[in-house]
């Protein structure tokens, strides 16, 4: 696999090119900001009817990562659903698909600002989750150490000989790591823009998603 392996608080972690994080020692796969049901919530608010394929597309990629890493535990790091009711509105085939992925492994839904309550799909619902030196929560907390979070949808733009290329990315400094959004219908916040710019330290490393996961220091 074309992942990028690195060490974080003494643990060896893999940033997958899809934007998922894998922790081999714990057989743990973590994805953030799936935003299931985004198209539908957009429509309920009187906007246009966006192509209703984003949940399917997100599940397809998640299915692939689970097949590749065969984790014993999956953590969805918050904003898994674009709104609290979205889990109820998932169509039958998507529900079945989630249940199939959950079979035979632990599944942890961490609550996010979009989905701050329990969902009626299997799995455990928690506000945060700690394992060894690492803590998983949706929004980065001040002063936290060894923290894995999501929420900000980091992305990075590179200037390649006059051609601009923008990619979703992991962003990590010595204290925390912020995961890219995994959902298909998600935008991004540049790693240099507020508040990401100040949340992360001067020695921030970004890991770009794409065909391969590629590390690059954040430009100042």
């Amino acid at each position: 696999m074309s992942h990028y392996a690195f060490s974080f608080h003494g643990e060896s972690l893999h940033a997958l090119p899809s934007g998922a994080l894998f922790w081999p020692a714990q057989s743990l796969l973590c994805v953030s900001d799936l935003h299931f049901g985004k198209a539908q919530r957009y429509a309920t608010r009187g906007g246009g009817a966006l192509p209703p394929y984003e949940t399917h597309d997100t599940l397809l990629r998640l299915d692939h990562d689970i097949a590749e890493t065969a984790p014993s535990c999956v953590i969805c790091l918050g904003d898994s659903f674009d709104c609290l009711g979205a889990s109820l509105d998932l169509d039958g085939s998507a529900r079945d698909w989630v249940l199939r992925l959950q079979a035979g492994r632990r599944w942890i839904w961490i609550e996010g600002n979009h989905d701050p309550g329990p969902v009626d799909l299997g799995g455990t619902h928690v506000t945060q989750y700690a394992s060894g030196p690492l803590t998983f929560r949706h929004i980065a907390a001040a002063q936290a150490r060894g923290e894995i979070s999501g929420h900000y949808h980091p992305k990075m733009t590179l200037d390649l000989k006059g051609r601009r290329l923008s990619r979703r990315c992991f962003a990590l400094d010595s204290d925390r790591m912020i995961l890219p959004a995994y959902g298909t219908y998600t935008g991004g916040l540049d790693v240099t823009a507020a508040p990401l710019g100040t949340l992360l330290g001067p020695q921030t490393l970004c890991i770009l998603t794409g065909q391969t996961a590629q590390p690059v220091p954040r430009a100042r």
């Binding site: 608010r45 246009g48 009817a49 597309d57 935008g187 590390p215 690059v216 220091p217």
Partner: protein, 801 residues
């Protein structure tokens, strides 16, 4: 026959004027359902359009709205208001005239809906907005006439389609509405007449005396033009001499960037400090208004400008028009020339300045076309479906709609007269449910059927969001430029986002004729200072580039077939002769392909003469073909007449390279992932209401909540490739940025007749292409390699490995 009202006749007599024959004709046809007037600039066109209105309103008995006037520009509506109020006041007519555009205050707009004036001057977008209100029938009650000004400019764009759809709705409220179109000289008046009239009503065409032929020639300059480039710096002294010899000169450019550079150079050489201004669409409104006001006062000797001055605002004293760079399009050239000598029966005076040697040929061809009255134009095709989708939503805002009745109304618009019911239903379904293969929105339809068979907005609040997104003009992604100051400095204008992205602090660039220094980007605003400590390193921004029209390209090809060229300057004639000797000149019914080695690389030039956009697309398609055929291409550059490729291996089989079926396939397949197509999709999806440009302020959430339209495009490609929006995108790709239609025409024209010329060295015709800007490195595997190299370099530079 309607005679002009005595008050009007008296006013004409007082002015010492007589009513022009075409103005009489317009009065005579005042009761016709539709009339198109074709008249040159300065021919009293607007007065001709309004005379019947003034006559009908003269007795003061009409209540409410009588005449709606629509123009493509807000400024033109304001200009006409001034120019119409004066005679109306002089004549003592009891007529209220008001304008209504994006600049009109909300309170005035509200009052206009409750108590409309007799004559309302507006724009297509403002009219579409009026049609979307529930009380539209009350406002339009009593409306008798609609005057569409500069209809030639609207007729070729989606704004025109939107206008005509809005008109069909107004006509439904006022069945006796009569339509008048005012147009500059065009190649096919009948086509515009069909656009204007309610289908299948007849539309009489009134042709005004076109006036004497323009006095147009090339500006004589001793020095020959350079081989390449577009800034025409060599012409500065000659242009300054012309400015001195005339009262007021308009200096037209094809792009904003060229206008900025020329203006800068002009001032460097302007030792007498002649008052010269600059005007283009990217300058801040205040800047533009300042220049316009100075122009009206007669304070300026010259204005360097772009298409922003193309339309008929009356500037008074212009006595010379200079066109810098090849005109690309004969019709636009003629309309620009018309801006000089704004007096009936006096010839307009214009000079052409080619910016490089190839443009000399193009300018001579354009001069011949003007003399022969051979104007160009592309047939418009049927009405675009994205505009129809927006219209359906607009109609739904005004109240429940009945699909069969709306279909009948829509097909009364000329451009949509051949629209099938099935195509209409597709658009309707898209508006109602999204029109996806997967029926996901049964609960959340945008439009919902009611028990009486009509359809209405499910959520009435959606009306506000739809109204906020009315319009078909696509702003490219631009960033505002401001002087740096504590509380937001003076706005200077806008630059394209892609250009802003290339700036690093300290870089200098030209905007509004001044050199500014890039300091930083703050909240999507480019902050600059006037610390112009070095020459502008970066030459402004790209702007829109026009492609040379099909007709003009054909004329150039024919010109090249002459045995010799007495009409061309000797430097250019010798250049063509040399090309004929060492290679050959391209022929109209054949495709010339040259192949030669240069600078270690194999080069291939395809002379398609299909215009810049199509040659660019051909570059993308052929680079894929070359990759497949094992020629290892590395990059290409396109101009209006050819595409130049470089790579590792020479082309050996030109027939296989140009295989039409493979090219068609490439459009469907490979080009589908291209940025140009994605940009085309975004434009159409925005017009059709899938993507919202503007959101209600309270809904504006963090930037991470909005995602790129490219994601929607990729998702549709993957899961719903036959969706209406993708069909519209493929349709749109036939013209515009992608312009595949012209590649197809080129293939049909040459029909496999290829002149393949392997040469020992660069040919004379190909040489200037090596100096062209805008080289495109070939994508594909190369991009990942570039990315890997760059990330590695950055890691190493940061001491991380």
């Amino acid at each position: 026959m309607h005679a002009p009202h005595p008050l009007i006749t008296a006013w004409f007599t007082d002015q010492g004027w007589s009513v022009h024959p075409h103005q009489r004709d317009m009065l005579a046809r005042a009761d016709d359902p539709a009339t198109l007037l074709i008249a040159p600039t300065g021919g009293g066109k607007t007065m001709a359009g309004f005379l019947p209105t003034l006559s009908e309103l003269a007795d003061g008995t009409h209540e409410g709205l009588h005449t709606l006037y629509v123009s493509p520009l807000k400024a033109l509506a304001a200009d006409i208001k001034r120019n119409l109020r004066r005679p109306v006041e002089d004549m003592g007519l009891p007529i209220r005239i008001e304008d209504r555009t994006g600049d009109t205050s909300a309170s005035r707009k509200k009052r206009q809906r409750a108590d409309p004036p007799h004559i309302l001057l507006t724009t297509p977008e403002s009219l579409a907005l009026l049609v979307s209100y529930e009380d539209a029938p009350r406002m339009f009650k009593g409306l008798r006439r609609i005057v569409v000004d500069e209809i030639h400019a609207l007729g070729e764009s989606k704004r025109g389609d939107q206008l005509m759809l809005a008109l069909s709705a107004v006509q439904g409220m006022c069945p006796d509405l009569r339509r008048v179109g005012l147009s500059a000289t065009v190649e096919d008046p009948a086509a515009i007449a069909r656009t204007l009239a309610r289908h299948p009503d007849p539309c009489e065409i009134v042709l005004a005396d076109p006036g004497p032929d323009p006095d147009i020639s090339m500006l004589e300059i001793a020095e020959p033009p350079p081989w390449s480039g577009g800034n025409a710096a060599y012409s500065i002294p000659a242009v300054l001499a012309q400015i001195k010899a005339h009262k007021t000169t308009l200096i037209f450019h094809n792009t904003r960037a060229q206008a900025e550079i020329f203006f800068h150079n002009l001032w460097l050489a302007n030792e007498d400090s002649l008052p010269i201004g600059i005007h283009h669409g990217s300058l801040a409104r205040a800047q533009r208004e300042k220049v316009e006001a100075a122009m009206v006062r007669g304070d300026l000797r010259a204005i360097v400008c772009t298409g922003s001055l193309d339309l008929g605002i009356d500037w008074g004293n212009v006595d010379l028009v200079i066109q810098i760079g090849a005109p690309k399009n004969v019709k636009r050239l003629v309309q620009r020339i018309g801006r000089a000598n704004h007096r009936y029966n006096a010839p307009s005076k214009a000079l052409l300045v080619p910016a490089n040697r190839f443009e000399v040929v193009e300018c001579v061809a354009a001069l011949q076309a003007v003399k022969a009255h051979d104007l160009d134009g592309e047939p418009r095709g049927t009405g675009p479906l994205d505009v129809l989708c927006q219209h359906i939503l607009i109609r739904a805002c005004a109240g429940p709609i009945n699909p069969p009745a709306l279909y009948r109304e829509v097909t009364s618009v000329g451009a949509y007269s051949a629209l099938s019911r099935a195509a209409f239903d597709d658009c309707f379904d898209f508006c109602a449910t999204g029109g996806y293969a997967l029926r996901a929105y049964d609960k959340w339809k945008r439009l919902q059927e009611r028990t009486d068979g009509t359809w209405a907005l499910r959520d009435p609040r959606a009306a506000q969001r739809i109204r906020m997104n009315i319009g078909t003009i696509q702003d490219t992604d631009t960033l505002k430029v401001r002087l740096q100051r504590a509380r937001g400095g003076k706005p200077l204008g806008e630059v394209e986002e892609s250009f802003a992205a290339t700036l690093t602090p300290g870089d200098t660039f030209l905007i509004g004729g001044q050199i500014v220094r890039y300091e930083r980007l703050r909240e999507m605003t480019v902050e600059v200072t006037r610390r112009a400590d070095k020459k502008p390193k970066v030459a402004s921004y790209m702007g829109t580039r026009f492609a040379t029209s099909t007709q003009l390209s054909q004329r150039i090809l024919r010109l090249m077939q002459q045995p010799e060229w007495p009409e061309l300057p000797s430097a250019t004639a010798q250049w063509l002769a040399l090309q004929r000797r060492v290679s050959q000149l391209p022929e109209p019914g054949r495709l010339l392909i040259e192949s030669f080695a240069h600078d270690q690389y194999a080069h291939t030039v395809v002379y398609g003469f299909a215009g810049r956009n199509a040659q660019q697309t051909l570059g993308l398609l052929l680079s894929k073909r070359m990759e497949d055929l094992g020629y290892d291409p590395l990059g290409f550059v396109a101009t209006d007449y050819a595409t130049l490729f470089w790579g590792l291996k020479s082309v050996t089989d030109p027939q296989a390279l140009m295989d039409p079926r493979a090219l068609e396939h490439g459009l469907e397949d490979w080009l589908a992932g291209n940025t140009l197509i994605k940009r085309t999709f975004r434009a159409s999806a925005t017009i059709a209401g899938l993507i919202e440009r503007n959101l209600p302020a309270q809904r504006k959430s963090g930037r991470q909540a909005t995602f790129s339209s490219d994601i929607l495009y990729d998702t549709l490609q993957k899961y719903d490739p036959d969706h209406l929006m993708l069909r519209i995108t493929r349709q749109e790709a036939q013209r515009g940025l992608v312009d595949f239609g012209r590649i197809r025409n080129m293939l049909e024209r040459t029909h496999g007749r290829i002149d393949f010329r392997p040469l020992p060295r660069v040919s004379p015709l190909a040489a200037p292409m090596f100096l062209e800007m805008g080289r495109v490195p070939i994508k594909g595997a190369a991009e990942e390699r570039l990315l890997a190299a760059e990330t590695e370099r950055l890691m190493a530079a940061a001491g991380l490995t």
